[in-house]
């Protein structure tokens, strides 16, 4: 190592001289003196940079960090609770049952055509299917405006349009669609309830929830 290289190294890291540089300083008086002065300068610089830290700095920095952590913890807890409530709401929210939804689709998209193309219907057939399902169709249901068979999801049911005191409603007697529990759906401004019956189910579709409740109650009490 020559003097120029030594001085470059000594100015770059005066406190961490490598063995080769230290050997050079021992052999070269000028560089030894240069190093002594560099270390003196370094000590002065370090002294000047040792600005007084404010009183209680350590406690403040660590306490504020702990406080921020706690508030973040509370925020995280609140966010978790909010997420849990949202999930519960989503789970508890009544979901559209496919069968009930298919009933609504039938009323919206196919009922009018079915009525238009209907041949003279046999009220006896409606009563027979109702009996097969174990339900009665009491007169309090309302005025039967239409009766006819309806193709529904690959099978045939009996289709009736009833005018109740609360508005029009459609009944679909579905002998081939057994159901474990009551199902609901809501779409196109209509609501549908499908109730289980012996060997099948009955779908009630209406734009009026009161009409729906009225028919469901009558069917259950029959």
């Amino acid at each position: 190592m020559n003097c120029l290289e030594f001085r470059r190294v000594a100015l770059a890291e005066p406190r961490r001289l490598e063995a080769e540089a230290a050997r050079h300083a021992e052999q070269c008086d000028a560089c030894k003196e240069f190093l002594v002065r560099a270390l003196e300068d370094e000590a002065r610089l370090a002294r000047a940079l040792r600005v007084r830290a404010p009183e209680g700095l350590r406690a403040r920095l660590l306490d504020r960090t702990a406080a921020a952590r706690r508030s973040r913890g509370i925020l995280a807890l609140a966010a978790s609770l909010l997420a849990a409530v949202a999930i519960a709401l989503v789970l508890a929210w009544p979901r559209n049952d496919p069968l009930a939804l298919a009933g609504i689709d039938f009323v919206v998209f196919e009922e009018a055509q079915a009525i238009l193309e209907a041949k003279p219907a046999d009220p006896g057939e409606l009563r027979r299917v109702a009996a097969q399902l174990g339900v009665a169709l009491p007169a309090q249901l309302g005025e039967l405006r239409y009766i006819g068979p309806c193709p529904f999801q690959g099978s045939t049911g009996q289709h009736a349009v009833v005018k109740t005191a609360f508005g029009k409603a459609t009944l679909m007697l579905l002998p081939d669609r057994p159901l474990a529990s009551r199902a609901v759906a809501s779409a196109h401004g209509l609501e549908a309830v499908v109730v289980p019956a012996a060997g099948g189910s009955v779908a009630i579709i209406s734009g009026s929830s009161r009409s729906l409740e009225h028919i469901e109650m009558l069917l259950k009490s029959s």
Binding site: L11, A12, E13, D41, A48, L49, V51, R58
Partner: protein, 168 residues
């Protein structure tokens, strides 16, 4: 669990906080901003603590976080750094205010990168390789910056020294 993590964190960073503050002070040249910057650094360090593999290297890690926070703060103009042409030494903060004024003037005359490298080495005790890693520069470039920075400081603090060094 959290308590032991907190205790380990405080034990590791506690001894570095005063030097961290000093580094922030000489970057911002304002004691209030320096404390805010040190605070933000400690908060970020706490968040990153679980991911730190080498806990012995905590001081370098803290200085690096602080340097990045400083760069981010000045970039967004969130940090108001005292302009270089403004004298901003408060005597009560320094054991030797006259020396501090001279050093402050000398540091301001350095380029920003040289100043950072010098502060990291003198206050943090880092090697050229460690500073290079923190600043994203090559070790050779850091050596050059430090050499030039010390030469410039010598010229400012001891006007005769520069001439002597050249003559030597």
């Amino acid at each position: 669990m959290l308590g032991s993590r907190q205790a380990a964190f405080e034990a590791a960073v506690g001894d570095c906080l005063e030097d961290l503050y000093r580094y922030a002070y000489w970057l911002c040249r304002d004691r209030w901003q320096a404390e805010d910057l040190a605070q933000e650094t400690v908060l970020r360090a706490w968040r990153g603590w679980p991911g730190l593999r080498e806990h012995r290297a905590v001081k370098g890690w803290l200085f690096t976080i602080l340097y990045r926070e400083f760069a981010r703060g000045t970039g967004r103009r969130r940090l108001h750094v005292v302009p270089d042409d403004e004298l901003h030494i408060e005597p009560q903060d320094h054991a030797d205010p006259a020396l501090a004024i001279d050093v402050d003037r000398a540091l301001r005359a350095l380029g920003e990168e040289s100043r950072h490298a010098l502060l990291m080495q003198v206050l943090g005790g880092f090697s050229c390789a460690e500073i290079a890693s923190a600043l994203g520069a090559s070790e050779g470039a850091v050596m050059t910056r430090l050499t030039r920075a010390r030469q410039a400081l010598r010229r400012t603090l001891q006007p005769d020294a520069g001439r002597e060094a050249k003559e030597g």
